[in-house]
């Protein structure tokens, strides 16, 4: 009778670290991230028999996202709907020195800059660049069309570059 829980372990183990990283991206507080992770595993365990999609990772990460949002709603914190309105337009390409400035950033600076981005930008960057999800997987996780993934990703990248190396057009 324990077989299904062992089977679930096999099913979820390859994606566990990605699930925790996404939880951290979305809730920003380690205790909450651990709660989200545990809730997500429980939910996923209850339903993984019915899973019939292509990507277990996308499915598991979409659960992490739902659980995180439930927590957000409970805390009445930043609603992802509001975050969307703060997304801004893509900047012009800056000087090629940008690449060198970026390379000089350390992990702490990267995480601090990510934290300053709106949640919708943060999560799409983490899914694409750190978890190496395809556009299709990201679309599945976020529940949006692929076109939205593309436009959000391009804005998110532009904004993170600005956070890290400054906006060449601004005075500061």
């Amino acid at each position: 009778m324990d077989d299904d829980s062992r089977e679930f372990e096999q099913f979820a183990r390859p994606h566990a670290a990605a699930a925790l990283r996404l939880a951290r991206t979305l809730v920003r507080n380690e205790a909450d991230a651990q709660d989200v992770l545990q809730d997500s595993f429980l939910r996923a365990f209850r339903h993984f028999r019915g899973f019939s999609g292509e990507s277990p990772r996308a499915w598991l990460l979409s659960i992490v996202r739902n659980v995180s949002f439930t927590l957000w709603r409970k805390r009445e914190r930043d609603d992802p709907g509001d975050l969307e309105t703060t997304l801004d337009a893509e900047s012009d390409p800056g000087p090629s020195a940008e690449a060198r400035l970026l390379e000089a950033c350390d992990a702490a600076q990267i995480h601090a800059a990510l934290d300053r981005l709106p949640g919708l930008h943060r999560e799409v960057l983490v899914l694409r660049e750190m978890e190496e999800c395809s556009y299709r997987e990201i679309a599945e996780i976020l529940g949006v069309p692929i076109g939205t993934v593309m436009s959000r990703l391009s804005r998110a990248r532009a904004q993170l570059v600005r956070e890290l190396v400054g906006d060449p057009r601004s005075k500061n």
């Binding site: 925790l20 690449a99 950033c105 949006v144």
Partner: protein, 240 residues
Amino acid sequence: METFDEHPRGALHAYLDGELSLEGSLEVEAHLSTCSPCRRQLETYRALRRVLQQARAAAPEAETALVRVTRSVRARRRRAFAIGGLGAMAAAAVVALVLIPRAGGGMVQEVAAVHARALESGRSVELASSDPLALGQWLSARLPGAVPPTAGGDGFALRGARVDSLDGRPVATAVYQVRSHLVDVFAWPSAERDMEPRPSVAGRWTVCRWSHRGVAYWMVSEAGTEDLKALAALIKERRT
């Protein structure tokens, strides 16, 4: 295929992410060979990727959390076994717990939230059609075993379908319209016994669940209770 009169903004990202067809990649490369701002931008985003990947933290504690969860499930089951001494019944109860999604108020809230989200984002239907056959094929290509929609009628127009997610699972969603209101109908195969429609109200939304011939249905709309009951009756009639 279109050529880029200007800079291939979105395509540059898709190129970087390996999401373009061969043809598309060649197109972008042709543009890059003549456009230094785009080359610089690509260089910047490649650098961004490298630093993000280097900043990716290991998360070994995630596996520990997973094992903790499955271990506690096993421990709970052993207790259920020991207490009742009615092994088979306890096992059946555990199975029921595993197979049946939450049926209480939490589910009503979630169904309403899913509907609200779909309306807000303006993507209530992924495939717009009033043809139940076409929608059924489209759904089952994405979700094996998906319950096909039934045709509209009696004031309910079938508008299309999408695959949404409910309680952490993908679910076939048929979308109908009655007057100015859209109705989401989530349906999945279920071992539940037949159940008459049970409406409840969650804020501005009416939610109604029912079961018929091995299919569990949840419906949600701004339309009222009577409308949802009428739609349930229509679906039942079409299904028989």
